[in-house]
Amino acid sequence: MMSRETWRAGTAILLLVAALVSWVRADYFGHELLTQIAILAIFAMSLDLLAGFTGMISLGHAAFYGLGAYATAAFNLMLEWSPWAAMAGAVVVGAVAALIVGSFAVRLSGVFFIMVTLAVGEALHAYLFKSRAFGGDDGLSGIARPDTSSIGISFDDPAVFSLVCVGFACLIYALLELVVRSPFGRLLVAIHLNPSRVRALGCPVSRYKLAAFTLAGAIAALAGSLTAQHNAFISPELLTWTTSGEALIVVIVGGLGSLVGAAAGAGVMVLAMHHLSGVTDYWMFFMGLFFVGVVLFAGNGIYGVIDAVRRRLGGAAH
């Protein structure tokens, strides 16, 4: 029977092939969708590290995503940093913010953690909505993408930018896969399954959770930074509870604790949103119902189905 990790990596490669095939075949609009999928996949995978592996279900993860976008805009527009530097700065801002929020949030369990993360996200949203320095509810526009004219390609070309975003998604997947396979990642799963036992073994549980929270915040900020460059525009909309909720839906629909599930879920989500919003104004209604259904019936989402195939094959081999 193939190991869980190999199966997961295989699924990831299949997803990448699907992304590349659609990239080749896509028109202008297709590239825009692919960019959105790649960015959402990065954001959702960072949430999966928290929710799926460590068992910390955050409803305020959009705070770090939005912060990454705002930091990119602020560094790029106000301090006139180069787009690459702004992106790096945004990741640092996301990490620091997650470190601060996490320093007390990770001590909370289950439902308390949900409530507090939701409140943090909304508080930050409310602040940015009113802040004059950051454009209030109008947001800021004119964020630049990296200038790569010296090597003869332009990031302003949607085809190029979508490929860059897919590349980032692959990098983040590889990074997170390394993290969850490392002893550190195993410990996170152990904390999820039985925190008191891990504590009894002498591990500082809160510190490990804080490390995961910080890493997830930094990656979410990277996704936010890419969004800011993609749209050349940011607004408080990026930090609303619906953004956090959509990411959580992606992770749960994709399958908690599988990383590739989050990426596949991102694809399903963006395409479903794109098609549903063309048909009805009330797509959130259907998305909400779908979400309740997945929570209620299909425990492990899309990846749960894929993994069931692996177990079936394994069963047949024995």
Partner: protein, 293 residues
């Protein structure tokens, strides 16, 4: 401006009025959380539903008081259906799944309201009896807002005596303290939970109708108040009536004064308050003593 007694008095009353609404909203959340370790994130949606049903009732019957009486009942019925159809089914699953399901319902509720009542913002007129204003230190103040404050105090007293003096109240208290033992000695904690849940929904609906004349009614009114109610629960200490009252008072005042003095930072201050309470007193200001952790 801050030291002007009239200004202070008016803002104090505004703070009390918001606290009163928040109390109506968070007491159900808090007690259910204490009983079942479950938080209904769609509670704000029920509040919004109360406001909209109230709006339709006022339009149909031209009577605020009828809406005042019927909307909470309608919302309680919605809550009951939701409990039977969804929550009870998920009882075996972890509380986390229940919480997530209620989160999905926020989306459903929001678009349902948009579909039925449209995207526009509506206002409810205060009933004639309370439409006037009174003099507070030489400043006029709407009578209706005083009514909201009074209503909060009345509900607090009713709940206090209900919890302390009735059999159901005793079962609820026993269930919050130690659910296993309460069940083991034959108390029907499940049924008590169901009743408390429905009553909490009715109070959320009541808060919605009552808020109609003060705040505007629009899709999305649910989430801003939900956040405040969650902060109330966390700050006050889940499961405790006094905690909900104290938390509502604190959050109502901080939010009101914050919005007047430094609107940009009001939410940040609130959040800092919550963080402070969580660090210093993780069980809230008035924690419920639990038999087992």
């Amino acid at each position: 401006m801050l030291l002007d007694p009239t200004f202070l008095a008016i803002q104090l009353l505004n703070g009390l009025q918001l606290a009163s609404l928040l109390f109506l909203l968070s007491v159900g959340l808090s007690v259910v959380f204490g009983l079942m370790n479950f938080i209904n994130l769609a509670h704000g949606t029920l509040y919004m539903l109360g406001a909209y049903i109230g709006l339709s009732l006022v339009r149909a019957t031209d009577s605020f008081w009828l809406a005042f009486a019927l909307a909470p009942l309608a919302v309680a019925a919605v809550g009951a259906v939701f409990h039977v159809v969804l929550l009870r089914r998920m009882q075996a699953a972890s509380p986390m799944r229940q919480v997530l399901a209620t989160f999905g319902l926020i989306f459903v509720g929001l678009d349902s309201v948009r579909y039925i009542w449209g995207d526009y913002s509506h206002a409810l007129a205060a009933p004639e009896l309370l439409a006037g204003s009174v003099q507070v230190l030489g400043q006029t103040y709407p009578t209706y807002r005083l009514f909201v404050i009074g209503l909060g105090i009345i509900v607090l007293l009713v709940l206090y005596f209900g919890l302390e003096r009735t059999r159901l109240g005793a079962i609820v208290r026993a269930g919050v303290d130690d659910r296993e033992t309460a069940t083991a000695i034959g108390l029907n904690v499940e049924r008590a939970f169901f009743l408390v849940f429905c009553f909490g929904c009715a109070l959320a609906g009541l808060a919605g109708v009552v808020a109609g004349p003060v705040l505007s009614i629009f899709p999305g009114m649910d989430i801003s108040i939900l956040i405040l109610a969650l902060i109330v629960v966390v700050v006050g200490g889940p499961g405790s009536l006094k905690g909900a009252a104290l938390g509502a008072l604190l959050v109502g005042m901080v939010e009101t004064f914050g919005q007047v003095i430094a609107p940009e930072y009001a939410s940040v201050v609130l959040y800092a308050l919550m963080a402070l309470v969580l660090v210093l007193r993780p069980g809230g200001l008035i924690p419920v003593s639990k038999a087992h952790g």
